[in-house]
Amino acid sequence: MGPLVSYDHISADTNLLLAFIIGIGFGFVLESSGFSSSRKLAGVFYGYDTVVLKVFFTAAITAMLGLLFFSLFGWIDLDMVYVNPTYLYSAIGGGVIMGIGFIMGGYCPGTSFCGASIGKIDAFVFIGGLFLGVLIFAEGYPLWEEFFKAKFLGDPKISSALGLSDGIFAFGVILVALGMFWVGEWAEKKFPQPEY
């Protein structure tokens, strides 16, 4: 039963090796979907290219369904899977800052490494910015520590917060995602941009 490392089926070092292999898969899929191009990424915000929307939400619902089916078959113990904790203020505040960074820089951290791996100089500069940003956060930590740790809500699942079963919530997300894909494809026709 998974997660393999939690049940001692694999050692910590094997876990790191598998991390490297999973990373290769991650990078390969990101690059071949076009996530190494900042103009393709930023396209979602102007409607001319919604590949981000499609890949991101298809991946989220695939993983969500996969986890629920794995749990159903007894292949994975969901209690052992890390659920990100919720600190309400910093989740929103961090998200807003990342959103501005996204529209200015055109990358997010994962995709910038992808872009850099195929030689995008703007991606290298973006990565340099990332390091600076993290360093600023680390050095000025006492200034925003209070905000960072405010409004801790534990690690709730959104499904249980809404009083729904995981399955019904997942089905809802699937329907919303398919609706957004439809809007995205409509937008691509409505706001075309020449290829670059």
Binding site: S33, T58, M104, G129
Partner: protein, 178 residues
Amino acid sequence: MVKKEQTSKTAGYINPYLGGVLLGLVLLAAFFVSGRGLGASGAIKSTIVATVDAVAPAHTEKTKFYQEEAASHGEKPMKSWLVFEMMGVIVGGFLSGALAGRLKLKVEHSPKITSRRRLAFALAGGILFGFGSQLGRGCTSGSALTGMGVMSMGGFITMAAIFGTAFAMAYFFRKNWI
């Protein structure tokens, strides 16, 4: 000219829905193996912690952030899951780019702006993203995508905040992209 550009759009990249399913399976594999999802900014944090500790050990001794990091993530920041995963990302991205013939050193920007402007915005965006990813406890991969996969409330909130803000600000930066 236009015709040729149209074909190049679909030739190089795989279908986004197929890409999404594959990415979802990679994420699922990460859950199955290690009980945690994918991430990117965590690897940068580990690198920063390790670098600062190597350059100025006295500084890390008395700075709270590094102390909290050492307490929660152990003494060897570079021997972390996300660092190895991100090394894989670089290899994977390179392999995919090489197979599709996309390896090329260039600054990618809209024809309406200069390279210098593009790089300045990339740097500013990187700084903001780096800062925000620490504040939000994870970036688009670690918090938003992984968080959505496990239905974390924080993940959904961060996802909505990132994309919502970017949409809201898109108008002000439109010259950079369209």
